[in-house]
Amino acid sequence: MSKIIEGLLYSESHEWVKVDGDVAVIGVSDFAQAEMGDITYVDLPEEGDEFSKEEDFGALESVKASSELYSPVSGKVVAVNAALEDAPELINADPYANWIIKIEMSDKAELDTLLNAAAYAEIAK
């Protein structure tokens, strides 16, 4: 049974979102990291990159597979978790403490399309 945190929003592609004013803090769920296995590389975007909702902004790589990351919201990247460049395994260790990017949202109404913890629990199994 994978861990799901109350109070976060989730996408069907297994990213989580923590809303902090106009900024969306984005990571991947425990379900996603467990499915991937040992993560060996995180392909990160750069600050200032702009993504629309559901556009791929990077990827997680395990030994065997590559899994794209999709932005749950539209906006501009204002921070990237550079610690993941040298320690991608942090995502396996704690996927909720180790966020991947922060996006300044251009349309907060998009948050309404995301899932709450209970709804996400239905698809993360």
Binding site: G37, Y41, D56, E61, V63, K64, E85
Partner: protein, 366 residues
């Protein structure tokens, strides 16, 4: 369709060990038990065991057996002694690869064992039969009757020897012994697909299950197909379907040394001779990156100006070498050693230098 997948004799053992299972070559096979990295390192530094019972065993015998195998096989089996193995290919007349395989010259006159890829067993058997007109040979596909384990790593000789209560030090590289295992006929060869010393054991399914359990009891690490691929790749060994295929000849893949052109004849000889003399449009190369991004099969390979010159066939962040490397099939002129090419990975393009394909220094006991 899961219900159509075959299983090996060790399927219940894999499930009991909690292996991550996935379809491969028509079989439900273990990909990993603990982690690909741990299993990979066990083989590089200690000893691991793989269930490779899905591989095919086709026996060829009869008065024309030697001449026939030489007809369908790219290598020359004439100088082989009993108890010896040889790697090579079966080829189409145009030089494309039917399969790559091992030929075992048995301890019986005019008897050979051909060990072929699981995905190709049916195709190979058909190919062998349809090319046997005019040869007095008996062809038997005994694949379902044989299980196979690969015991690989620097401690393989010692651990497998202890479990079998036999001294394996006398088995030379690419040689085998015919023996008994739990009352069944067994073949033990010093061969493998990892770049390390090791053995492959063929026997009836019951005996293979017994040996598997004994090896695990002796702390040999169960290894899945995940690390089988990372290990063979680092050692520069091809996988049929990726680096060899009907469209990729041994010359293109850089394995023309396994095509013996001084032999009287074999299917594909003329095409291979022509390819060797004139060169091929594409060639398989090794590429090494400075960045940590990972090149995967199918990613495009380009020149600096964006012109596409090829495609990645297998790629990983190498576990033993800690760098991102791949095989790629590229235009011949673009593939010169030391050239810088560019691999498109997700939204970015990364430089990669053409290097020799044997990325990892193999440790065979020769």
């Amino acid at each position: 369709m899961e219900e159509q997948l075959k299983t090996t004799c060790l399927y219940p053992e894999h499930i009991a060990l909690g292996a991550k299972m996935s379809p491969f070559a028509g079989y439900m096979m273990p990909i990993q038990y603990s982690s690909i990295t741990e299993e990979h390192n066990a083989v590089r530094h200690h000893c691991g065991v793989f269930d490779v019972s899905h591989m095919g065993e086709i026996f060829v015998s009869g008065p024309d057996a030697e001449r026939f195998v030489n007809h369908i096989f790219s290598g020359d089996i004439s100088p082989m002694t009993e108890g010896q193995c040889q790697y090579g290919m079966m080829l189409y007349p145009d030089g494309g690869t039917v399969d790559d395989l091992l030929v075992y010259k048995e301890y019986r006159k005019d008897h050979y064992l051909l060990v072929v890829n699981a995905a190709n067993v049916d195709k190979d058997e058909k190919w062998i039969r349809q090319n046997s007109d005019g040869f007095v040979v008996n062809i038997k596909n005994e694949s379902p009757a044989w299980g196979q384990l690969a015991v690989q790593g620097p401690e393989a000789e010692q651990v497998l020897g202890k479990v079998l209560a036999a001294d394996l030090s006398g088995i030379e590289f690419y040689h085998f012994v015919d023996t008994q295992l739990y009352g069944k006929r067994a073949i033990v060869s010093r061969t493998g697909y990892t770049g390390e010393d090791g053995f492959e054991v063929y026997a009836a399914p019951e005996a293979i299950v017994g040996l598997w359990k004994a090896l695990l009891a002796a702390d040999v690490v169960p290894c899945g197909l995940g690390c089988r691929d990372t290990l063979r790749f680092e050692a520069g060994l091809p996988l049929y379907g990726d680096e060899l295929s009907a469209d990729i000849s041994p010359v293109m893949a850089g394995f023309s040394m396994f095509c013996k052109l001084d032999k009287a004849e074999f299917i594909g000889k003329d095409a291979i001779a022509k390819q060797k003399a004139e060169g091929t449009a594409k060639k398989l190369v090794g590429l090494e990156m400075a960045d940590k991004a990972i090149p995967r099969a199918g990613y495009p390979v380009q020149l600096e100006d964006g012109t596409e010159v090829g495609v990645v066939t297998t790629g990983y962040h190498s576990i033993s070498l800690d760098k991102s490397i791949c095989f790629a099939l590229v235009d011949r002129e673009a593939g010169a050693l030391g050239n810088t090419l560019y691999i498109q990975i997700h939204r970015k393009v990364f430089p990669a230098v053409v290097v020799k394909k044997r990325f990892y220094q193999t440790n065979y006991k020769k």
